[in-house]
Point group: C2
Chain length 429, copies 2
Amino acid sequence: MVDIATRVHNHNWKIDPIVRSLIDTDFYKLLMCQSVFRNKPETTVTFSLINRSTSVRLADLIDEGELREQLDHVRSLSLSRGESTWLRGNMFYGKRQMFRPDFMEWFEALRLPPYHLEKRDGQYELTFEGSWPEVMLWEIPALAVLMELRSRAVLKGMGKFELQVLYARAMTRLWEKIERLKGLETLKIADFGTRRRHSFLWQDWCVQAMQEGLGQTFIGTSNCRIAMKRDIEAIGTNAHELPMVYSALAESDAELAQAPYQVLADWHEEHDGNLRIILPDTYGTEGFLRNAPDWLTTWTGIRIDSGDPAQGAETAIRWWKARGEDPTQKLVIFSDGLDVEKIEELHRQFHGRVKVSFGWGTMLTNDFRGLAGDRLAPFSLVCKAVSANGRPTVKLSDNPNKAMGPPAEIARYKRVFGVGEQKAVEVVV
Amino acid sequence: MVDIATRVHNHNWKIDPIVRSLIDTDFYKLLMCQSVFRNKPETTVTFSLINRSTSVRLADLIDEGELREQLDHVRSLSLSRGESTWLRGNMFYGKRQMFRPDFMEWFEALRLPPYHLEKRDGQYELTFEGSWPEVMLWEIPALAVLMELRSRAVLKGMGKFELQVLYARAMTRLWEKIERLKGLETLKIADFGTRRRHSFLWQDWCVQAMQEGLGQTFIGTSNCRIAMKRDIEAIGTNAHELPMVYSALAESDAELAQAPYQVLADWHEEHDGNLRIILPDTYGTEGFLRNAPDWLTTWTGIRIDSGDPAQGAETAIRWWKARGEDPTQKLVIFSDGLDVEKIEELHRQFHGRVKVSFGWGTMLTNDFRGLAGDRLAPFSLVCKAVSANGRPTVKLSDNPNKAMGPPAEIARYKRVFGVGEQKAVEVVV
């Protein structure tokens, strides 16, 4: 039986929207947004899209009109009643009313601010400028729109069965990964793959496959929309944009040196438990931990997001021990460039020594390498805060290939944070 | 949007029928049925299911009640108006009105006759007895029902995503085969996989994948229902049951020696072109060709269905040359135990020397080897005429592993047809 209504409905879409909900975004964006809304609501920021894979010429692949339609569609979204109810009523990490009523009222009225789009050298220059709590919510949908439009551009020329086999291959590949992960006792793993997913529907499939294949080992997804739809835990804490913007706002080198700790002091007040996770690498993990105030050692854990992950975890373990903490009671979250081999290796190395958890991103939700030549392979697209109140932001991280900011400012930050020699690690995604 | 009507409809099925149409069968069964209906309508035959893969204990796997439901459902089927119109109006091999009005009237009124079912030693004994033109139409649906019930029994315990990945793997495997076949210029290939298919829906998928992947190289399917549904050519000529029954009816050794030629003499009257295909191996290809009347050399081609296929084709080429025919104008159809490697090899060897065509069966529509352990691997199930008017039938073929019949009768047939030493070839499917 043909469902005529569905068919007519589908044919009447002006576009096939990529982002259909304001909460089709990472949970930590909302947590950070609430923190910013409370602590720095007046800050003006600029976010900018940066394609680190320059060989992928997005402006040649993606039609500007289609891109504008998708971005305009995102601007038309607002929080639905059901989404608002879910955010207000849900229990996150065992806590009710994670989102305060004043924040929810603001969020319910929110529409995303305008974007600025230009083509240059085969790439899109896409920037967002305005109030920090508003602009910051563009990051994930902007990335998801560009990633999926690129997928669609490549898929456009394929036949129906060629397409079906393409997805069959991707499904098989993911399932083989899941079957390998099944072998790891005590594994805890979450989906962190929203931003660079192949597509929304594919991410949704991946999450469900993880649910069925891994059971309790799969602890949740960073994507609020999918968490709501599939009735699973939304996962996340905080990201580099907080120390980056706080640091850009610092009036002196002394204030700059304290900025990353000020971020966590503000965070400390609001959150506890699994939300008290240190992200130490913005300006070098070693220096950050060396100079950290004692109250940070009581935090639940640490997230390793750049540099050599094993080395980062060893550094954290040494730090906890030096400060009199028991590492076996601490959580280490790995979230940078993970795939099955790396997960197995890190799990083997750290299981039992600390509590380990994995935030698996692009290679979970976009491993189409080699499936249409390499035309669908994931690539390194980010959307970052590049300035705050007119001043440039800086990120160093533990990998110089991930550093961002004007060279003079990078030099100043390296001096202030005492960052020495760093080992470069190739950035694939 | 949920289509409530479809859902209610699906939930209201008493069973999920495997065979939903009397023409969900091989085209050659209908061609042969018409010939039998005209030439031997009074013959009483017994068809019997034979599982040559005794390690697959069908009666342990498949519930008897479910099997009876499916077989009863087949007995409830009759030719629909649309199917009748398609058979009456279609052009097969360039000829209209392939099916005569008296046959169509009989077929429109037909219901399949009763079956007899018993369990013995972990196997089902399933037999059909009655008028030849009626009983013969049980062969394909009986096999398809048993094959699919076995698939369902294995799939029953699997999760939703495990299932999806299973099919993803099978799709990927078939597509890789299709991509290899794309490399063969001038290939002509058809689906002959109805009888031992994994399931109806899977065969339908395979046919569509062949259509998209191979284009004109894919010349059609033996399955009438799918040919009708997908608007492609129905393919087929004749099978062993004709010489087997004719031979069983022979009153003397002299009549027996002539029986296989009498079959083709009856066929010759009715058909021409692509339907004049010799199936020479029922009682040994060598002897059959040696003693064949001259009018058979003018036939369009030969089908190789047992023994070493390259050797069979070489025998045919030598025979045509010896009788003054030009082999390059003749068609050789390979249809026994084919998979991609064998197809490539035979194509390489015979392309240009004769017209070559392939009838690809079980390894097209049921290659689930290794996908659920080996619990879904295809196996060698056949449904054959075992007696006619109370006398046993005999098949020798070019492979002693495919021989059938009482030993004394096999010895007599070998003597009458001058069959010497034969090379045994393992029968997988």
